[in-house]
Amino acid sequence: MSKSKLVGIVACSGEELLEGTVSRVAVWKVFESLKSSSVVTTCLPLFMAGHKQEREFVWTHPTVTIEGCEKRCAEKALRMFGGKPSATILVTDVEKETGLIPKSRVYLGEDGEKLADRVAEKVENEVKILLSKGGDNDE
């Protein structure tokens, strides 16, 4: 088991949905906020396309997924290759909690940006918890 202090974030990035854009913007916000080399991300399709490095990462390190919808593609992708998310944030749940709805897939608008902030906060909390445990995937 890896002793490196690294946590992965995988966002669905779904193109069809507003929430897919929110998921990717949230990832960037987490990176901007944490400014930490302990957090990494990967393109979901690249992970699925069979890149060994990405797949091995999710076996050995905790990963937080951000899902745009109930189909939970990022989580399914991880599970398909023997990984399991340590935490999952569903954008639609945060939408329900906050009542914030993005304007469009291109420009999230004020509410969409706020929604991405809230999603990013939740992801950041999970990342901090996982890093405080040492970043090991002990599940």
Binding site: G14, E15, V25, T41, C43, L44, G68
Partner: protein, 152 residues
């Protein structure tokens, strides 16, 4: 199995790569939105690539029945590969990085903020997608004409 509406089948499906770590992923995605939302909303649409890569049956059915253009962000060509693996009707593949070689003078910003020149390049990519749509239209017109002639 859900039957696709005729209207949906006639649309062209544009699928960008979903890349999150490189500006080219953002450029492909934004260029796709320019087409499907602003320039050709009546005849184009998009679906989530992640849905296709996890093997969602409805997504597979869509790429098999519709005409598809892939917009790849890097050399791994995840969008094209996923469409081909799903048995999709891939009519054209555009690669943002390859296109950028011809516009290297444009200073593209970051993945989350492309900047004015990055946005300019995005419009160039959208223009290339439009050209591919035009080629598909022309081919379709020829086929319709050929069919019309044989029926006369």
């Amino acid at each position: 199995m859900e039957v696709l509406a005729q209207e949906a089948k006639e649309k062209i499906l544009i699928i960008p790569c979903s890349g999150i770590g490189k500006p080219s992923g953002t450029i492909g995605r934004l260029a796709t939105y320019y087409i499907v939302e602003d320039l050709c909303p009546e005849e184009t649409t998009t679906i989530c690539l992640p849905l296709l890569v996890i093997g969602d049956e409805k997504a597979k059915q869509l790429v098999q029945k519709m005409r598809v253009i892939a917009i790849d962000g890097c050399q791994w060509e995840c969008a094209s590969k996923s469409i081909q693996t799903s048995g999709g009707k891939l009519l054209a593949s555009l690669n943002v990085l390859r296109m950028y070689r011809e516009h290297i003078n444009l200073k593209v910003g970051s993945v989350s903020n492309l900047g004015p020149e990055g946005e300019k390049f995005t419009r160039i990519v959208a223009g290339k997608i439009l050209k591919e749509i035009e080629k598909i239209r022309r081919k379709q017109d020829v086929q319709i004409k050929a069919c019309g002639n044989s029926c006369v």
